[in-house]
Symmetry: C2
Subunit: 262 residues, 2 copies
DNA sequence: TCCTAGCATCTGGTCTGACCAGATGCTAGG
DNA sequence: CCTAGCATCTGGTCAGACCAGATGCTAGGA
């Protein structure tokens, strides 16, 4: 099944072979790879080499290891976890600024709303409505539960939008923003009247999605983000946000006939 | 009742500590980590444990190892390579579909064009023009150089757009798509007349950016992607692309009335 | 007969010590 | 002063050993 190693670093060849075996279907999710000691024989390499290869595959989310099993490493093939972990790291090491994050979220969030307005089913709408209900129903002090319900609402929208990549990346971005803002401006969003304002905005977005008004759903998302985070930004940064926000222009242009609210 | 004091796997702790050290700036790009044998002492673990940790960090793109150096693993902190590799894998194991990728690129690419049209300086324009010149000037057979020039053009646009996060992610997405499509439809894009068509499209985008026509720049990007990759997609997938493409609607909406699919 | 305690045996996780090939940098000889 | 050459460092690999935990068979008790 596997051929011994010849060129380059040995563990890289092991990774490549197992990776290929998973990609072209010789191993499917739920299957079990041979045990480390069995792989040692098949590849004719030492155990540490096999283990380093397995660490990489595990890091990529292709396999999961667990001791004690008599079966071997389990093929999981769910790379979303590793993907968002790495994305998180990339955001951290690159020192992404808050305005970059918010601007990016403005793009992805409004596009997700736009797509959701087109593709939403009754089931999706029910999930969104449930999340809004949760938001409105949480205790005024329980900002934790409120944030959870908020995340649930956005997750429902992403699901309706039907783009798996967008789901992953938006998720990471939203987390990163929450982290940043919690550290930066720990003021009082999501409490008191701001809370009610939040619920109202979400309800508006829901209405737009429900009636299939993609433009409105996207626009509401952008306005909402400008309103929420604009206060934490410098005038110069605000200007960058407003480029995408549609006081006059839409996210991708087409000022066309609509949105001349100015 | 009795909880074990021994935490998880040792190498995970090593990864976490080094990762944190890089994230909060104790190591910067270009710095050198202690050598494996030095890390063994500092962490009080075996070398295999350290090595497994280094493999993971290397896989995430945080460090690079090279034998013979008297310095140690080099901190690189460029995760784009690892990210696009994982993205590739995610598509192969069908966690993410090709249409997801293209749709996402449509969003990010057109938004980058939109921002670039607003924010471009003379210097940015010069870079773009140079890249187009390179594209037009490459040998007809040298698709490698052509692809490099193409990437250079897009990099210049991202730079003009001025969003670091968008730069990273677009870069990753573009790489992944190129890889995937090379494997999927190895037909003859970027050769012969298609090549000329490519150059023409890029020139149009340049013109739009140059004159500050953000809407046109964004729209051209979407049309171009639909044209290039649409052929590799099923009708159902094409429809998802066209949702974002603006035969009638812009990426984030504004044409309203188009959305009567249901 | 059925059930369960217990053990052999498997798994991954870790450590030690060793060797190799290649790169580095100092040093001795030109 | 320059350069050839060697000591020494690096990462890459291997072999062998031990541990803790999970599995599954088996023998003994109900």
């Amino acid at each position: 099944m596997f051929t011994p190693v010849t060129k380059g670093r040995a563990f890289e060849s092991v990774v490549a072979q197992i990776e290929a075996a998973i990609y072209d279907g010789r191993f499917k999710t739920g299957d079990y790879l041979p045990s480390e000691r069995a792989l040692v024989e098949q590849f004719s390499v030492g155990r540490s080499t096999v283990r380093e290869a397995l660490r990489i595959l595990e890091n990529m989310g292709l396999i999961k290891t667990s001791p004690g099993s008599h079966k071997g490493p389990r093929v999981s093939a769910s790379m979303t976890q590793g993907l968002s972990r790495m994305l998180n790291g990339a955001v951290k090491v690159e020192q992404i600024s808050l305005v970059d994050l918010v601007q990016y979220r403005m793009m992805t969030g409004s596009t997700a709303n736009f797509l959701a307005a087109h593709l939403r089913t009754a089931e999706h709408l029910a999930e969104m409505a449930e999340a809004i209900g949760l938001m409105a129903g949480t205790e005024p002090g329980d900002s934790e539960a409120f944030a959870r319900a908020d995340a649930q609402f956005h997750a429902a929208i992403r699901k309706a939008a039907g783009n798996a990549l967008m789901d992953i990346i938006n998720n990471v971005i939203e987390d990163a923003i929450v982290d940043l803002v919690r550290d930066t401006v720990d003021s009082s969003p999501r409490t008191g009247q701001v809370r009610a304002e939040f619920v109202r905005t979400h309800q508006e977005i829901y209405d737009a999605i429900e009636r299939g008004d993609a433009e409105a759903a996207a626009s509401l998302s952008r306005h909402s983000l400008t309103a929420v985070y604009g206060g934490a930004l410098s005038p110069e940064e605000r200007r960058r946000l407003e480029l995408l926000d549609g006081t006059a222009s839409s996210i991708a242009g087409t000022t066309s006939s609509t949105a001349s609210t100015e």
